[in-house]
Structures are given as C-alpha cells and as structure tokens.
C-alpha cells in the first residue's frame, strides 16, 4: 500500500533508552541522553508516527543518503530485535 509522507511525523533517532534513575547519573550522562545523536550518513534507525492515521509509533531503518527503507518494526519488535545491534 502506498501512503504519502505527509501522513507521517518524524520523531528522530530510535531506541534511545531513558536512564532508569536520572537523579543518580552524572550531568554528562543525562546531557548525552537528552541531546547527543548519532546522525549517521547512511543507515539510520529512527522513529516515525502514523500521525494522520492509526497514530502508532513505529521504527524503520532508512538510508539518509538516498532514503532507501530497509526494514520496519513495531516498537516492541524494534526494542527486542535491533537494540543490541545499534548499541
């Protein structure tokens, strides 16, 4: 099925885990979690939301040079299947 890009909203790099106990980590670790991004030239694992449709968030792996989409995941699939590869 074909859907327009405008049906979706981009929400950045995927699988950034919120630290379990923010008050116990350093400013550097918290700043890293909040702001630092991989921003790769090439394969990027990222979140999108089907904001004009079912409103679900999902994860795709996309090439940032030519927009090739390699794979897509539900949030649960993504956290199980690709977390260990990207860390």
């Amino acid at each position: 099925m074909h859907l327009e890009e405008e049906d979706f909203s981009y929400s950045g790099e995927a699988l950034i885990a919120r630290p379990n106990n923010p008050s116990s980590i350093s400013d550097d670790e918290w700043g890293d979690y909040l702001f630092m991004r991989k921003n790769p030239k090439g394969r990027h694992v990222e979140q999108w939301q089907h904001s004009s449709g079912c409103r679900k968030f999902f994860v795709i792996e996309r090439n940032t040079m030519d927009n090739t989409i390699y794979s897509s995941y539900t949030m649960i699939q993504a956290s199980k299947e690709i977390k260990h590869e990207t860390n």
């Binding site: 909203s9 400013d27 700043g31 702001f35 991989k38 790769p40 030239k41 990027h44 040079m65």
Partner: protein
C-alpha cells in the same frame, strides 16, 4: 592582483583574457600548523582571519568538493542580527559589523546590501514576541523597530495586508541594517583573500580519518594522502557529525535538508527582505531580479541535498499568501542544502575532549549571516587555544550544564 577600477579597465582593454586565477590550486603539503576541514564561507573566513589577525603562516583549508559548491551557495543570502538573547545577539551583531566593510577588507565585492529585513507577525502573541525581541535588540544596541501593517503596506506595495486571509499581517519587526549579500562571492572573496595571505586551499580533498594519539590530534588521512598537524578546526556544516564520529566526539546535531528556489528574473518588485514564521516562508529579490524563496527544513535526517515536494508546495503557498501577485511567477531552479540543526537553534563553537580538535558547527538554517563573525571568533579560538569571549556561551558544555540559548523564536523559520 588588487581589484580596482584600473585593473578592470586594463583587463577590459585586453578583452578580459589575462585575469589571473583568484586563488591557486596548491599541492597538499605533508604538514600544516592548522588545518580547517570545510571550505565553505565559515571555514574560509576562519583561515583568512587566522592568517590576517593572528599571523598563523602554515594553514590549509581542505574542501571535499569545490569552493562555492556547498551550503555557502545554497542559502537564501539573508543577513541580520536581531536575535533575542544577549549571547546570540552579540555574536550575530559582531558578524554584521564585519559585513559592513567586508568588500573593502577582502578587496572583493560581496555585494552586501543593507536593504532591511522584516519579520512579520500575524497573531497577537507574535506581536507581543516581536515587541519583546525589538526591545531586547534596542537594549543591546541593535537597530530594530516595530512596524504596523499599514506602514508595511506603504513600504512594500505588493504585500497583502487584507484581513481576509488565514493569517492576516498585523505588523513586523524591522531591522534596517540587515539585508542580503551575494553568497558565492562571499566564498570566492574569502578564498581569494586567504590564498593571498598564503593559505593553501585544497579542493577535491576529503578527510577520511583522524589520527588521534593519546587524546591529541596528530594528523588526518585524506583522499590526497596523510597530513600531519596538531590543530584541526572542523567547519563542515551538515557533515559535522561524520567528522565527529571519526574522533569519537558526540554532537547534539541532526542533519536535515533545507530547500530553496528562485524564480525567473523580473523587474524590481521587492526591495527588502520579508520573512514570516506563521505562514512559514521568506522572500527577497536578488540583484539579478529573481525572487529568492525559502522556508523550513524537511523534518527527517538526511544527507541527500534534496527534500520532499510537499515542503516546496507549502513554501509556495506561504509566499502567495503574502504576495498573491507572485502566483504568475515561474520558478527557475530548486535545490536543497544539508543543515546542521541543534536543540536550541544556536551554533557550537567549541573545543573537544581531543586536544587540538575544535568544532564550529550547528549553525543550522541561518549560518550565512554569521559567516565573517563565525570565522573571526573561531580563528581567535584556534589561535589562542581558548574561546573568543563571544564564543564562550556556545561551547558544547552547554548541553551538559543546561545553559541552552533558546533562539527558536528568532531562528526557527527565519534564517
């Protein structure tokens, strides 16, 4: 050769066949005291001020493409300094001060034209924000005033101030000292002036790896071989993250396409710069006569120098709401550049954990206006191994200590 009316006459009489090249194409050396990665306006300005004001002799600028082929020649050429916060207002005003007199300084006509910049307000809240920003500007010594819709209509006859549109124009902030410059002339002018001071400008030379020993930079691998150096300034705009990864430095940057387009040339119809956050677009008319139009970034990370068609459509719609008469203008060219956005819409001018490695990046959608000032403060930062006073607030540490400089209001859409 000094450019002047006399050299113009002399070369004209020789049928313009004997102009020397503006800058040479040197063979890359095996060692430099300072290497600037990125031959855009900011990188070239850095090299120029390093040579001119700090007496550094052995400098190279490495450019993976060609001079004037990247973002320097892809932006919409707007120059202004009416930012809200003291830190950014001072930095951009420093740059504006350098724009005045830059053509004489470089002996190259960068065609800086202070034709004024209007930032439109379409809602009551926007007008309140505009008044606040104008007041902040005035306190900081930056020329700014609030102009209401009737006065805007007198000054810009083609603009539509009808209340019968989705976002009627209520007023604007106006900076009479802002304007436009010829963007590629800025790259060429800095390149020529830097080369005249002995800077090696090496084009078609991409950095592929950084040689870091014991947390110190000692050299670079490039497509033209290995170069030794102890000081590297990265000024690579949208590709900053790619360089940072080579040194295991983390940056809060995301690269996005920013699109722009120009119409066919037409007679003079717009003698100033008009920008709008609410309808999301900005427009000016170049000296050639083409309307230069731009808007916001494409939402997703990309390095592809092209964006999505719906962004173009949205931009055109915004401009037509402001200037219905332009509905008949035919567009000539459209393109994208890769901009390096930061979470607070402010640049990063900073040392890193690697000794001798510095970054000047994150200028996002509005770096062109900062070209001379950015180069000037970064040169000082490199020469003294300590941030220029104006660069202190823009260190990477702000993302760890929380001292962000939130310029989304002044920089969000307006460039």
């Amino acid at each position: 050769m000094k450019y002047s009316i006399f050299s113009l006459l002399k070369q004209g009489l020789k049928d313009n066949k004997e102009w020397p090249e503006a800058w040479s194409s040197p063979i890359i050396k095996s060692r430099y005291d300072v290497i600037i990665i990125g031959g855009g306006g900011h990188g070239l300005a850095t090299a120029y001020y390093l040579a001119k004001e700090h007496g550094v002799k052995n400098i190279a600028v490495l450019e993976k493409g060609y001079i004037g082929g990247g973002n320097t020649a892809r932006n919409t050429t707007i120059v202004r300094s009416n930012y809200l916060w003291d830190e950014s207002a001072m930095l951009y005003q420093h740059s504006l001060d350098l724009w005045n007199g830059l053509s004489q300084d470089l002996n190259y006509n960068v065609m800086f034209s202070a034709r004024g910049v209007y930032n439109l307000g379409h809602t009551l809240q926007e007008m309140r924000d505009i008044e606040r920003r104008v007041n902040a500007n005035v306190i900081n010594g930056i020329t700014a005033e609030v102009v209401l819709a009737d006065e805007i209509k007198k000054r810009i006859p083609l603009i539509n101030i009808s209340k019968n549109v989705r976002y009627p124009i209520m007023g604007a902030s106006y900076q009479s000292t802002g304007g436009v410059a010829r963007h590629d002339a800025v790259a060429w002018g800095f390149a020529r002036a830097a080369a005249a001071l002995g800077v090696d400008i090496v084009e078609q030379c991409e950095v592929t790896a950084m040689d870091i020993d014991n947390s110190k930079i000692v050299g670079l691998n490039t497509t033209k071989g290995y170069v030794a150096t102890n000081q590297v300034g990265c000024v690579a705009a949208g590709h900053s993250s790619v360089l940072a990864e080579m040194a295991n430095v983390r940056l809060p940057i995301e690269s996005h396409p920013l699109q722009a387009f120009v119409s066919e040339p037409m007679k003079a119809v717009l003698d100033t710069v008009v920008m709008s956050n609410a309808v999301h677009g900005y427009i000016s008319q170049s000296d050639k006569g083409d309307l230069v139009i731009g808007a916001g970034i494409d939402s997703y990370n990309s390095y592809s120098q092209r964006g999505s068609p719906h962004v173009i459509e949205h931009t055109a719609a915004a401009i037509l709401e402001l200037f219905p008469a332009f509905s008949r203008a035919r567009m000539n060219r459209q393109w994208g550049g890769i901009v390096d956005t930061t979470p607070d819409a402010c640049p990063i001018i900073s040392k890193t954990n690697v000794e001798g490695l510095y970054f000047n990046c994150g200028w996002g959608t509005g770096g062109f206006k900062a070209t001379p000032g950015s180069g000037h403060v970064f040169a000082s930062t490199l020469a003294n191994d300590s941030p220029h006073p104006l660069a202190v607030p823009f260190a990477i540490e702000r993302f760890y200590n929380g001292h962000l400089i939130d310029e989304h209001g002044a920089a969000g859409v307006a460039h």
